[in-house]
Symmetry: C2
Subunit: 126 residues, 2 copies
Amino acid sequence: MRNKGLAKLGDSLVNLCYSLAKSEVLKEPTGEKVRDSILARAIRDTLVYNSIGRRTDSGTAADAYEAIMAYLWLTGNLTIESIVSNLVQELDIDSATNRKQEGEIASRAFQKLLLSSMSFLPRQSE
Amino acid sequence: MRNKGLAKLGDSLVNLCYSLAKSEVLKEPTGEKVRDSILARAIRDTLVYNSIGRRTDSGTAADAYEAIMAYLWLTGNLTIESIVSNLVQELDIDSATNRKQEGEIASRAFQKLLLSSMSFLPRQSE
């Protein structure tokens, strides 16, 4: 999952899904660029993370997250609707939630999404 | 179509659709942030543009474009698939196309998409 193009596509996908989920939770349309640090936190402490090497910076870890989502979406294992509903379930925020709190909540939501999607990933060769 | 939240959601939508269309044309996954200038050019010289005021800067014009797309998508008049296939038809680029050329081609593709979608828009009040 080190494909840069796949990560760039995944970046757009993740931003759209998060924007939709946040719009649904806040009950008004909004858009958001999901920061690398949020996705990096989401992928750390997962089995997937071991396979990309432990000492990666946030950008590399986030790229891995984005590439995985793009891959699962392009292969038909995830839909935008399923990603959004998965995120919405965990996104316990309101208009008073500050940026730092939202980042932590978003990170957990993205981690749960990843964990629930791992069964669709091809097995890592050792 | 001056809703800022709608424009932000539309920003994510436009970026994802363009990324998908470009991936399809180049036959490899890639992602792209569509510049304001591209969307601004796409919306100028259209009837929609008259309604937002002629002397707007690129950011405002692009916001209007993005808000329209988000609106049409949220109301079920456009799907991601239909937006992407519409863009793909016009996106005559390859790996040798430079950034400036791609911008012009993308602008025309987004303009055609807008023109073909205008019938779904509510009529402007005078």
